[in-house]
């Protein structure tokens, strides 16, 4: 009898533990990106500095935007890694999360779980709000933040065509990163 009870408890723990795959899609309004391994995921969490959370090397205000930020999920303590904000523009999630450093929030977005590639608890953040707030905030501030920080970026078009650091790298090493001479050869081959 004792063994049966313990076995049942063991099974319950195994199913509810951090390693178990859980469904966080209830009430999610996340938009699909048609990604192979995506699942809608809405959950409560605390916004943390990942370097601090993993290694104990902590910085004031989660690193002020220098460091990647994570979501410590309230239900099970799992550290979720938001790789992406909601903009289809090569943009991460730190800018969106920094205002909530240390705060309890609710988030909505897409979870990626692809064991073949090692993608576990990888997240695309679409909207966020502090616990208790009614209004959601869209996770799409990155490009406005970039524009504020790069008022002199010349030209038109999306940020990644005008970013001074990106342009400097391409000017030095080419689009393929193999040096300017090789770059010109490859482009001539690809675009005759």
């Amino acid at each position: 009898m004792i063994a049966r009870a313990l076995t049942a408890a063991l099974a319950a723990l195994a199913l509810s533990g951090p390693g178990a795959a859980q469904d966080f899609s209830e009430n999610s309004e996340a938009r699909s990106w048609n990604l192979f391994a995506e699942q809608p995921a809405r959950f409560e969490a605390t916004v943390v500095d990942i370097l601090c959370e993993v290694t104990g090397n902590c910085a004031e205000n989660c690193g002020d935007g220098r460091r990647q930020l994570g979501l410590l999920r309230s239900l099970d303590g799992v550290l979720v890694y938001p790789n992406k904000n909601s903009q289809p523009a090569f943009t991460g999630a730190t800018v969106e999360l920094l205002p909530y450093c240390g705060a309890e929030v609710e988030v909505d977005g897409l979870m990626l779980e692809d064991a073949y590639l090692g993608a576990v608890n990888i997240y695309l953040l679409q909207r966020i709000r502090r616990l208790g707030d009614e209004t959601w905030v869209s996770a799409n501030r990155w490009t406005d933040d970039w524009a504020e920080n790069n008022p002199d970026a010349a030209g038109s078009g999306p940020w990644f065509r005008r970013d001074p650091r990106v342009l400097r790298e391409i000017a030095e090493e080419g689009y393929f990163g193999l040096g300017l001479d090789r770059d010109a050869e490859i482009r001539a081959e690809l675009f005759p």
Binding site: P18, E53, G56, R67, G77, N83, T94, D114, I170, L190
Partner: protein, 154 residues
């Protein structure tokens, strides 16, 4: 005997919940070699399969993503992805210059490896060797994504 084994397993699974104390993962010193990749394109498949989003074909996109604050990883020779949290003294893992300049490069590093909730994390103490771009993926994939290199680029 069977009771003991079940009870031991019960304790092993339940102790983290009983203690409920956030513990830092224990790091292990490692020497690794691999490519500095853009983890979102690699994990999501948004730009194609894993072979298409490494190396020269994907280099401009890797620059964009790194500058855009998407986490970089080290794709080790055995296929394991390590999420890079720090390189040398730079903790600028969200769009910093140090990681951007290493985009698509194959590097040998010395550092500390941590595991947490299924992901591997890496704090690089030293980039021992930087072999620049080694994966000439443009031979197979051209440009990824196709618009990354303007056809009329000077």
């Amino acid at each position: 005997m069977r009771h003991n084994r079940v009870f031991a397993a019960f304790l092993a699974l339940s102790s983290p919940l009983i203690l409920a104390a956030p513990a830092f993962a224990e790091g292990q010193r490692v020497q690794l070699r691999g490519e500095i990749i853009d983890t979102w394109c690699y994990f999501s498949g948004v730009m194609g399969g894993p072979d298409a989003v490494v190396g020269s074909a994907h280099h401009t996109c890797a620059l964009w993503c790194s500058a855009g604050g998407i986490p970089v990883g080290l794709l080790a020779e055995d296929g394991t992805v390590y999420m890079v949290l720090q390189i040398d003294d730079s903790d600028e893992s969200a769009g910093g210059d140090t990681q951007m300049r290493l985009a698509s490069h194959v590097v040998s590093v010395d550092g500390m490896h941590y595991e947490r909730d299924g992901l591997n994390y890496l704090v690089v103490s030293e980039v021992v060797q930087d072999d620049d771009i080694q994966v000439l993926s443009h031979d197979d994939f051209g440009v990824v994504p196709p618009f990354a290199v303007p056809e009329d680029a000077p």
